[in-house]
Structures are given as C-alpha cells and as structure tokens.
Symmetry: T
Subunit: 150 residues, 12 copies
C-alpha cells in the first residue's frame, strides 16, 4: 500500500477564515476530510501535516525518508522563499507534486517564482481544494522514481 | 451537454517523434484518443485542434465564442511569446485551463514565463498526457464564469 | 488620389464583443463604416484589412509596395512582440501611423513597449474609434516621404 | 462654452529657434496662433500657458480646478521626470490629453517613459503642430469625466 | 477595552547587548516596561511577544484572530524576507502598524524592501523605543477596519 | 524655545480637494490648524511653508540655517525625484523628520524610493494628518544633532 | 545524394527592394539562383522555401523529418522572437546552420539575441549572399548527427 | 570680446557653509571672486548666475541665445535629474563645459549619471574651485561651434 | 581553554543519505566525530548544534554570547535567505568562520549569494568535511576581535 | 598579392590538448597547416600570430597598419572582455572577420557577448577549423573598405 | 613527490607596502617564505610565480601541463575580469584551489563575482597568509582528478 | 622638484592615425612634445610611458612608489575593464588624475563606467590634448596626499 506525505505550508490552517475572495470558503477541516476520503478511495495512506515553521516542514520531509512514496506539498508562502525546503526535498529523493489552491500568477509578482517547481514532477495551480485531489490521483500512479525525472 | 475547445499549440503534433526524453513516447494520435475517450466518459463534446500558426490558434479561440463552454489549451512555445493568444482568450471570456505535458520549469529560463497563466483558471504542468485528462476533469465541473475569476 | 492601407491587427475583429470596459462598445463593422466614410470625405482610397496572423499582416504590408501612399496600422498584440511587422514596414519604406484605441499605458507593463513607435511618423493612443479617424486626417496630408523622417 | 487649459512645458517657447531637424521650423508664436484659431473654430476657450518651471506648471494645473474642462499638455522634458505634474493632474481630476510634437520614441531611451501617459485619456505623438490641433478636436468632444477612465 | 498584539521579531531580545551604534542603549526589558506603561495610560491591553522563529511569529499572528484589535509589529530581519508573516497578517485581517527602531534606509540595500509596508496601515521608522510608543498611540485610535484601507 | 520648519511639498495644498480615497477628507487649512495647535501645546514655533516648486523648497531649507532646530518635511512627489532637496537638507545639517500622510507603499512602484529617508532621523508613513502631529512630538525632543546620526 | 532544406524567414523575399544600405542590392531571385547553382556544384538537392508566417516555417521544418539531411535557415525577424521555430528545429533533430546576410550586431539591441544560435551547429553572419553559400559548403560536409552536438 | 554664461546649480550658494569634508572650505563669494578675476585675465565677460530652481536655470540658458559664446555649468543635483536643462542646452546650441567641484564618483551611486556629459564639449570633475578656472581657460579657446561636436 | 560554537544548518543532518554526488559519502555522525577529534587535538571545546529551523539557529547564536569565543557556521540553505542569522551573528559580535562542504558556485545561481560572507572573518568552500577541520584550525588562532575586522 | 593578419587569441595554442568535447581533436599545428595551405590556394600571404597577452594582440593589430589588407581574428576569451582589442581594430580601420571554432552560444552566458562582432564585417561561429578556412575565403574577396560598412 | 604551481596575481608583489588595513602587514617575501616552509613540511615541490600580466599568468598555467599536480591561485584583480585565466585553467584540467587573503565580500560589489570559483575544487577567502597555507594542506591531499569534480 | 608619472593606455600611440573624427588630428609625438613643454614650464619632471599591456601599466604604476609624486593617467580602453590598474593605483597610494581626450560619454554605453574615477582626485574628459595639459597644471599643485581624499 502506497504512502503519501501531504504537507500544508504556513497559513493553510487558516483556510476558510482567510481571504475568501482568493482561497474560496472551504474550511481547513473539510479540506482534509476530502483529502482523506480520496486517499481511501485510492488505497493510499495519506499522512497530512501542516506547519507555519519552515524548519518543521523540513523535519517532516526528512522524516519521510524510507516511509513515504510520494510527497504532495503546498508550500504556501515558503514556495517563494525557502531553499531549505527545496534542499530537503532533494535530500529525500522522493517524487514531489506541487500544489496551490489559488492562482499564484494572478497575485503579487513575487509569487511568480517557485523554489519547488523545477524539482517537482509536476505542479497543479488554481483549482482550489481539487488541486490536492488531482495531486493524489497522480501520486497514486507514481513509483519512487519518476520516469521523466532523469 | 458541455462543449470543450481543446487546443494544441505548435509542434505538439510531433509528439512521439520529438525529444522523447522530455515529452515521453506517447504519440500524438494516441494522446488524442485518450482525450476523446475521457471526454466521452465525462459527457463532454471535445473539439480538438492543433496548429503551428499563432494566428490560427487565435482564430480557433475567437470561433469558440457562443460555441464552447471551456477552453483547454497547451500553447506550446506560444505560451512564452504570444500576447495575441492571451488577448483572444480575454476576448472570448471563457474559462481557460492551461496545460503542459513537460515540466517547463526544468528547462530554459525563457520557458518560466507564461502569458496565459495569470488569465487562466488554473494550470497543470508536468504530468505528460495526464495533464490533459486532469484538465478535462476540471473543465467538466466549470460553468461559463469561474466563481473566483472576478 | 491618395491610397491608404489600413491594417487591423489580431482580435480587433472582436470589437464590440470583447472587453467592453477597455475597448468601448463600438462594433467592428461600424468602426470600418466610420473609417470608410471619413476616407471618402478626405478623397482617400482606404484599403482595410484585418488579420490574426502576423505573417498575413507582413504580406499585406509587403503588397502595399507601389500601391499605397501611407500605412495606418493598429498592430494589436503584435505591437509588443513582432519584429517581422517592423521589418516589413521598414522594407516598404512608406510613412506609417500607429493607432491604438485603448490606452495601452493603463494596462499590463508588457504593453508599454512598441516595436512600431520609433519607426512610425507618429502615434495616436487612447481615443477609441476616433484614433483611426485622426490617423486618416494626418495620412491625407502626408507624402510618400515624411519631411522629418530622415 | 467649453474651456481648455493648454500647457506647454519647458523649452517649447524656443520652438523654431531650436533643433529644427527634430521639431520642424514652425515658430512658437505661429503655433499658438494656429491653436487659438482652431480653438475658435471649435467654440473653445483655450487658455495657453508655457513655463520652464515644474512648479509653475503644477500651479497652472491646480488653478484649473473649477475653471477648465479639459487639460491639453505637452510636458516636454518633464514628461519623463515629473511626478509632481502627474500628481497635480490626478488632483484636479480633469480629462488630460498628452501631446508631443516630435516622435519621442526615435530619440534617447530615457524619453520612452512618460509619467503622464497612463493617467491621460490619450496621447498624440509625432505630428508636429498638428498634434495640438488633433488634441483640441478631441477635447471638444470630452466631458469632465472620461467614460473609459474609471 | 482595546487589545493590542505587539510583536518583536528576531534579535530584538538582544536589545542593549547588540550593535549599540545602530540600536541605541535601551535594553529589551526597559523597552517593554515603557511599552506597558504607555499601554496602561492609553487603556490598552498590550500582549507583548518576541520570537526568533518566523513560524512562531506566524502562530502569534494567527492566534490574534478574534482576540486582538490591532497588531503592532517590528518584524526585524523578517521584514525583508518573510512572505509567511505577510500572509498571516493578511489572513487575520486586523489593522497593522509596522515599527522599526533604527533607520533601515541608512543600512544595507537589502533592508530597503519590506514585505509588510504595503499591507500595513502605516509605518514608523527610526525613532528608537519611541517608534513603539507612537505606534501604540495610533493603535489606540484604530478600529478593526482602517477607513483608508479599502 | 525650539523652532521647527514644517514643509509641505507639491500638491499638498490641494488636500481635501484631491483624491479623497487616498488622502482622506481633511482639508489643507484644518491640517495646518491642527499642526499649529499641537506646536503651541509643545511650546514649538512652527513655521509652515508649502510650495509646488522644487527650487522654492530648496530655498526654504537653506533659509532655515541658523533659524530652525528641526525640519519636518513631507516632500510629496519630490520625495522620489529630488536630489536638490536632499542636498539642501544635507547642506543645512539639521535633523530631519520625513512625513507622508498616505501609505506610499500601496501605490505605484516608483513611490517606493525616497531620496530623503536615508538622511532623515526617521520616517512616519500612512497616518494621515496624525503623521505630522507625531513628527512634531518627536521634533520637540530633538536637539540640533541627532545622537544616532553620526 | 544529400538534401538540404533552405529556409528564408520573413521579408527576405523583399531583398533588393528593401533597405539597400543594410542588405545590399542583390535581389531575391538572383540570390536563389546563386544558391541553386552552388547546390548543384556540391551535388546537393536544395529545397528553398520562404515564408512570412512563423507557423508556415514551423510546418516546413516539421516536414523535413525523414526528407532533409541538413537545415540552412535565415530566420529573419523570427530569429529574435520565435521559440516555436526553435522547438520545431529541436523536434526534427537535424543539423542546423544559422545564416544572416546583414551584421545583426550593428543594428538595434533586440537583434543581438537569437533563439536559434545555441541549438545550431554554427552561425554565419554578415557576408551578404555569401552567407548562404558558405552554409551550403558546410552542409555538404555534414551528416545527420553533428559530431560535436552531443 | 568673448562672453561666458557661468551657471551654478542648486545649493552651490551654500558653499563654505555646507559639507566641508566634501566641498572644501572656500566660500561662495570668494569662489565667484576667483572666477571673475580669471575671467578678466582671459579677457572674458563672465556672467555668473546661481539658482536653486530648475526652471530658472532653463531660463538663464535660453536667454544666452545670441548673447553668450560658451556656457560653463555646474548643474549640481540637477546633473542627475534634469532633462529640461539638457534640452535647454541643446536648444541654444552653444558649446557647454560641465564642471563639478567634488568628485561625484566617490559618492552615492545615483550621482554617477549625468544628463549633461554626453552633450557637453568636456567635463571637469573633482578639482574644487579650480574646476571652474580650468573651464574658463578652455572656454577662452572655444568658438561657437566645437570642431569635434558634429 | 577556547570555546567554539559549531553550527550545522538545515539538511546537514542528512549527510551521507543525501545527494552523494554533491556532498560525498561521509555520514553526519562520522563528520561530527572528525570535528570533535580535531577540536580535542587543538584544545578546543567544540559545541556542535544542528537545526533545520532558522529561528533555532538564531537562538543558538544568541546563546553563544559570553560563552563561545568563535562561531563556525555552515548555514546550509539559510546562507542565501536568512537575514535573521546574519543579524544574530552581528548581535553577538564574535568572530565567524563560514563553511561549505560543496562548491556552492557550481550549483544554481541563487546559491552564489551569501548573507554571511561579508560579516565573516573568512569563508572556506568546497573541501568536504575538511572545510570544517580547516575552520577549526583557524578558530584556534582567533581572539574575540579579529584584527582586520574594523 | 593580398595580405592577411590571422590572430589566435589566448589558449588557442592549446588546441588538441584542451577540452576536446568542446574544441574537437584537431591540434594547433595542423590547424595552422590547414590555414596556410588554404591561404596559398587563394594566393594570400597569411601572417599567423597567437598570443595569450591582450596587449600583444593589440600590438599585432596596430602593426598591421599599412601591411595587412584584412584581419581574421579569433579573440578567444578576449572576445568577451577586451575593449582594447576592439579599439585597436577600430584604429587600424581594416576589414575584420571574427571567427570561433566552438559554438559560443552553447556555453556559459558570459560568452554570448562579443566586443568584436558589431565592428566586424562578419562572424563565423561553430564550424571548428573550417571557421578559419571560410574566413580566408571571404578575406580573399575583400578590399580595404567593406562596401556595406558605412 | 607532488608538484604545486602557486600563482600570485597582479599587485600581490606589493604586499606589505599596499593597503595595510585590508591586506595586513606581512610582506611579500615573508609570505613566500612561509609558503615554501609549509611546502617543504608537506613534501611538496612548490613553484611560486607572480605576474601583473594576465597573459603571463595564462602562460604559467599552460606550462603546468604535465608538470604540476595541483594549481593554487590567488588571481587578484583578474579574479573578477579574466575569462582567459579561466579558460587556461579549464585547458590544463588540473585541480585548482582559489585563494584570497582579504575578505573580498567586504569590499566593492564588483569583487563579489569570481570567474574561477565555479571551476575550482574549492575556495579559501579571508585568512590572510594562512589562506595559502590551508590551500597547500589541501593540495597535498589531491590527485590529478578531484573525485567530486565530474 | 616634483615628479609626475604620465601614463598613456592602449592605442594612444596610434593618435593621429586613428579615428580622427573622435580623437582629432594631433599625432602622438606632438602630443608628448606638448606635454613635455608644459612640464618644463611647470618645473615638473614628467616621465611619459605608453603601453598596450594592462600588466605593463600595472608595472609602471608599482614602480612609481617612492619615485613619483602624482600619477596622470589616460587608461584608454582599460578605464572600463581593468581592476588590476585600479588596484595598482590604490597600492601606490599616490594622487591620481584621470584624463580622456575624447568625450567618452558620447560613445558606446560601455564607455560610461570607469574603474578609476572614484579613486582619482579628479577627472578631465573631452578637451583633446589639452586634457593632459590641464592635468599637469593640477598635478603641479598637488602634494602626496590629497586634502579631500580621506
């Protein structure tokens, strides 16, 4: 049975309370319910973590070594500033899927650059909670090594 | 029944013959078969067009006015250079889903900028032929106006 | 009798159907009617062409050699991306008037640069359909060589 | 009867004495005669001012509050350097038409940026003295609020 | 009675021990005494927190939801690098006052950019401990929505 | 008794008539009344000057030599363009407090740079008329040489 | 017998009619005669195509798959703007020789960048019609894979 | 007898009172005495003007038409910001010598660019009051047209 | 006896498990053994800390006040992004030696900038585990104030 | 009989010993043999020089005055850094052909700029030893003044 | 027995006479004594060369082919400007250690970029004469091919 | 008696043979005659050197230690590229006067930056041979330490 580490970056725990015009009105608990439900349908063990701490996200990623098969990550604000998270993802060597609920290209220019995109298998941007569901569907098909990742 | 205009940009017709290490070995015909099969499952009418001509892609988009409900587009190289396609998409006012099979962030720096991303509902990058399938799944859920597009 | 080649770039045929808050609600047919009416008043033969194809616009410009006396052009999105159109205008060596209906300076930063402005006799920006009328008025006064164009 | 404030920026009073290859040989007095003649034809009260002083141009603009209906301005060199004039134009809230006699795009790169263009209704560049006449024609049609200026 | 969350960013706890030529010789404890004294005079409940951890500062901001009326923040070094703190401030939607004791414009160029300034109600820079006192005075006058913040 | 030169830059005399959504609805006269009232409470002689002319502001600053103890300045648009005002402030060698009523960081990017900030004792941005009051409070505490200004 | 696809980009058909000071006075027909003559001397089948259409150039390149052995291309203005042509050249995987008649480095700065140079075997710039002849000479020596192209 | 317009830009009247470590301790009156003395020795009529007003400096330059033979100018802070002064110098068409007393290259980076240097006959930077004397010596040798200025 | 704080930044605990082609195959435990062995030989008390948390690294640095004599730091990914760590190092005022095992100049361009280099006594880059040993050797010779650090 | 100065820049004497994957395995002596053989066939006197010294290359170029008819130069690394060589080429006023054996556009970005290209008659890049041969062929046709070089 | 080529770039021969606050007061002769002493202790043959001539440094590097095992180089000012030295180092293919005595990151911004760092095995910056000693220690351990240099 | 080292950079020996429209028609020998004549009048020993070699110029500067009192240098093309010459000038610590005969600001943009200006006492640009004479006049007044050079 395949194991997924699903990471929410900073402020995603505020979902539903936060900038509804950008993030929609789904709240954080129901988002995670939807993720777990889909995980179950796909026979995936999904370990969901959230942290506002860059270092803690690094810790979670490191701990995935030998445990998870795929990492699905919405790095939130750290998408644009964290080389430490990038390095942790490179260190564990697992396939990564990058997820964003909002369309980061419609927002401030500094949200256009991601330190994760070029080391991820793929990115899904702008589909709200469905961004995560789509990522799980893809994760379910992935092995430890992406065929086109060499 | 919902109608989808699915546009392949330049050189996508070379799929399977072209840079296999980047685009995989699916060929163009079987990609379209997979798209049509999924469209049928989702009760969508999918109109598939390909062109190497920027102007022709603009024509196809304009002609979607009053015909299609959603546009799924992989603008290929025009992603990075065509304001004309951007303007056509703005002109028809339909929801747009941007699709790329390869991970454009792993390649030359000039592929990092898209003239479509910030006017699309969302973007799906790097999942090979599945990028299109995921887009169709989302298109099936979309109305003519995206709720978060104001 | 003086001959004018009047070129509409990509998406201008969508006028009236497209982004009314930016382009106003005049439609494309009535715009051309107004242009022709004014041309007649000024004793000009106005040949109106529109194309979404960069190459076709280049063709039209080349074909003006030995036929037209002045070129009035609204290059639309190609204003900002087409060196081919610039080169065609340089090749035929006719006086050029650049026209934009909307105020391109109020929009995205990439619309601030024009490949045509510095080789045109002059530019008229932001007066809606009147931008074309003003250009015709000026074209009517122009010879094949602009006095200040050396 | 509509009132127009027509502002000439620095060095425009040197017209005819100055760089004839760029500005033509019309002199300053005959330019203003032509402006006044056209104003009269259009039933406009045209108040013509010139100053080499940025602050004085700001004063003239401020004093137009409640007096003028439209401002026609050739900010000369201040086009490229004066945020104070921009702010004054924003403060009075009248429609603005930007005018340049020479084609500023054919000259030094620092003349390519205008602090006025994006807050003006429109810009007319490169038609010599006619640039002003065209602006008056447009001003004659304008109300205090431009319809497309929101 | 109004509640204020007052946040000190990284290294502010070193005050008095650290770079006296830049930050002056007030120490951290006496700074907080002065803040609390002023808070009491203004009938404010001031909750003072300091952290060297970006994530902990995000936690403190999130926890202010429904508790604090205004946030006074000196983000220290995170001013220039943290989008996560910016996002947390946007998420809680409370009025924010940005405070710096030293004049950040006299120092390295990378201290000139702030990720907080454009989402704050206002900024106070360079007045040493008084920067905080001035911020409290303003916070005492603020409601949950800033009138000029729309 | 301490003397303050308080300078309003260009267009501040339009306060109340100008862009109310940005600057609030206090008018210029009542702003100065509030400044004078606060000056009196603090036992300060406040000399208030306004000018739309960069050169006149330079003159006022030069004339403060040997007369004023502190300069409070809202350079308005000249904040971003005037090295002459910067040089005048350096020449007189008095402590300077920079004031802005609106939050200049929420506006056009060219308003992010100030030629005054790095030579001022401190800056107060975004608190409307209170920005001046806060500056007076600080000016009242200042000597001719700022302790941290070496 | 070796087959060469020789592509002329936009406006090259204007040769002899166009900017003689830059391109010389050879006309387009005699250029092609010279090319064909040299091709015959070298025992090459040279298929000469010209188009003003980016998309058509892409089509011609795609159609060379399995037909041509080498592509000689003067992409004209598309040198500097077309990623689509670059991608087509990458897709067919044939050796490419880039040719320019004029010295593009003596002209506007935007002509300094080529999207073809770094994927070509080599570039020949500035020798007028001879640029093509030199390219044919080299093409005659090339196999399908350039030895130094890995 | 040759006539020289010698212009001091903003804040040069503060000489001797201002930043002695940069400008030396010569005062403004004795600088002008030295200039006049040297002018007399060289049989030059030297008209010395100073202004803090950009516009007034433009006026002085315009008024030199038909009066002065050479302009010696230390544009002070306007060196780096004034296109209006540049345009005035271009308009009068007299030879210009640019003078700076301090070494502008040792100071802030924004002092490295001059709008006058490339239209001047030559520049003299960093020799204190002698910079002016050297300029007068050169002016004495100059005709109305510089031989190398075409 | 001299005390050294030796800090490993994020992901260094993954050594030996991580990107062996870049970091070599020494594992983290044996690296620390080598450091401790060398420390003992040099009569140094070496306090080794690792953290993935920027804030925790700041805490460790602050706690070195009055305890350590020299700080040896490999800030890992925080080298390129953390002003907070820079500020902490400035705050404690101890001599700092920057260490990197891999050659950061051979990697992504964003690894070329370090926020630590210009405040360190020196930097050692690219010698694998030996980078630390060399740093200890130097630390053994250092006093609390570097002679060339003024 | 025409005389050619053929200059090899730094490190070209290492040919065959150096980076074979970039420069091929021709060695330096056989390259020069091929050049001399071709020169003889073309009735050219070819003077071949190589130097690692920028100044010596300048000397060789200066000495070509009145001796050589054409200069063929592969400036090697000095292509990208030497204005002195550019100036020497401008000083002697002979036609110049720029040659590179490797494709400099496939390498580090700093190799994309040449200080020679825009003052050369033409450039030949990427054809290995043949680049020189092609240059000789062209040189044989050149007079002292290039017809299109005005 | 291993052979080291140790290269001092321009102005290093001035050591002890030159900018003592930056380079310390060790003089050049005693530096070389220390280097030779350490070389002897490590059983290395150290060939020390200094030159102010870029070309001569290139010559020395080329001559190391087949003679030296490792190159230790302090390229001085050529660090930041010489691609020729970089190319020579690439050409000989020996392991390189880059050395700087002063901390180049504390100085002018143009000293932050090195053309040698990314092709060196490692860099040692800021330890005065010890920088060389540390380099020798490392060189003593190196073979002709660095294990992590592929 | 004061000693001057006067250095001519690369290509200055070509004076009179080279680009007469830029450098005038004085030849190199008569320039040096004029320099020596003026030196004699001023009781200066002027040692004139010219070199096309950056390293040789560095040598000459180093050799001036303890010999010359002032260095007058026209670094020619090395003005814009040589940090080695800058470092040599810093190393000898003598006052430096920078001289250019042509107006470097009228030419290519890369000639606008000088590595010498900010470490020179002053710069004289654009006065042809007189630039040197003016420099000698100033050198005659200088001591070993410039008063304003601290």
């Amino acid at each position: 049975m395949k194991k997924i580490l699903l990471l929410h970056g900073p402020n995603l725990n505020m979902l539903g309370k936060r900038e509804v015009s950008i993030y929609g009105d789904t709240n954080y608990a129901s988002l995670n319910d939807a993720i777990e439900k889909r995980g179950a349908e796909l026979d995936l063990v999904v370990d969901i973590k959230q942290s506002n701490h860059e270092g803690e996200l690094v810790d979670y990623i490191q701990n995935a070594t030998g445990v998870a098969d795929v990492i699905v990550i919405n790095p939130g604000a750290y998408t644009h500033t964290s080389i430490a998270i990038r390095d942790a993802l490179l260190a564990v060597g697992l396939p990564v899927i990058e997820v964003h609920m909002s369309n980061i290209y419609k927002r401030e220019p500094f949200r256009r650059h991601s330190y994760v995109s070029d080391i991820a298998a793929g990115s899904i941007v702008g589909f709200g909670p469905d961004s995560y569901i789509m990522a799980l569907d893809q994760a379910a098909k992935m092995g430890k090594k992406l065929p086109d990742d060499s």
